[in-house]
Subunit: 205 residues, 2 copies
């Protein structure tokens, strides 16, 4: 199987995970959608567990491409943090995954799985994401965009809560106010009067 | 089937939903756990859809019993809101559902289901819960426990985000700091220096 074919199959798997949940992705459904044989897919991916790990890695790559990398275009500190939040909120729909973030879909479905490698990977992926958020908050503190003494890990934890409330409101309720609600919550949390990514405090680096 | 038997089956179903997710509850598994015949359960519950609706109603009843009703023992306004939050955070584990809130489990699994009655019920249940939270916040505003002009629906939205961050941290990561994180977030959001439910502002009713 060529790399391009594999990428296409994983993209299709992510789209199914976004729609039907992570456990809804089977080699059978993937075979049906990709027009390849189930035995061919089985030979390539080995097991459902292996497939799920590959899907998680594909989802992380999409998140990096859609959110983390473009955010670095904003100046360091608060502007970059705000740009990351702007790109993170609703990122999955913009990445062609209308059912929402496949990583959180997996987190909610697999959290009680009995400690297999898929859950372990998900836990370390979540920790890494929280560390990324925390370091962006800390950078804004270091650049005096946020008050000295701000607990960066606490702010990151609350940013994650804003993302989750947005995710639930958008996916479950189809609530049109989620963007405004998230913006108001960000303003209150970060003490920014107006959120104009790229037009942050003057002492930006 | 007697009412007691039905309650026992639904409780067992909630526990499975909490562990394996909402879609993990089938009439077959319930039959296995309850020692009743699958055809007997099918005759009683009719369909998986009917069973899921009954499970959602049982989860709502548990939430009312564990969270909403006991919170009314605290005085109206901020003390009652804080008591509700204290009881809500981690309620499922205390209700014998170690896998977490079955309503949110359902919300994350069924959000893209194609508009059937189960999803419709879930949406209205979520709206009702947000209305309950909003009215508790508004009561705290009306009693001058929170600043005049506070946007009660916005605060309720952010409280939901705190719950979700706590839920994810506790279920997925097994993070011991979630209670302290949630308390710090509540303090920042509600402007309370110390959270002592039942010992709120003096002008409580």
């Amino acid at each position: 199987m060529g790399r391009e074919t594999e990428q296409r199959i994983l993209a299709s798997g992510l789209s199914i995970a976004s729609e039907r949940g992570f456990n809804g992705v089977s080699l059978g459904i993937l075979a049906e959608r990709s027009g390849l044989s189930k035995s061919g897919l089985f030979a390539h991916f080995g097991s459902k567990e292996d497939l799920q790990l590959r899907l998680l890695k594909a989802a992380e790559a999409a998140l990096r491409r859609q959110v983390v990398e473009p955010a670095t275009a904003a100046s360091a500190g608060l502007p970059r943090l705000l740009e990351l939040m702007r790109l993170w909120l609703g990122w999955a729909a913009r990445a062609g995954l209308p059912g929402g973030c496949p990583l959180y879909a997996a987190a909610f479905e697999l959290d009680d799985a009995d400690g297999g490698p898929v859950r372990a990977y998900l836990v370390s992926s979540h920790r890494e994401w929280m560390a990324t958020l925390t370091s962006l908050v800390q950078e804004a503190v270091d650049l005096h965009h946020l008050p000295a003494g701000t607990d960066a890990a606490q702010v990151a934890w609350e940013l994650n809560g804003i993302y989750l409330a947005h995710h639930v409101g958008q996916r479950l309720i189809g609530d049109n106010s989620v963007d405004a609600r998230a913006q108001a919550a960000l303003q209150a949390l970060l003490g920014t009067d107006s959120l104009n990514p790229g037009h942050g405090p003057e002492n930006q680096s």
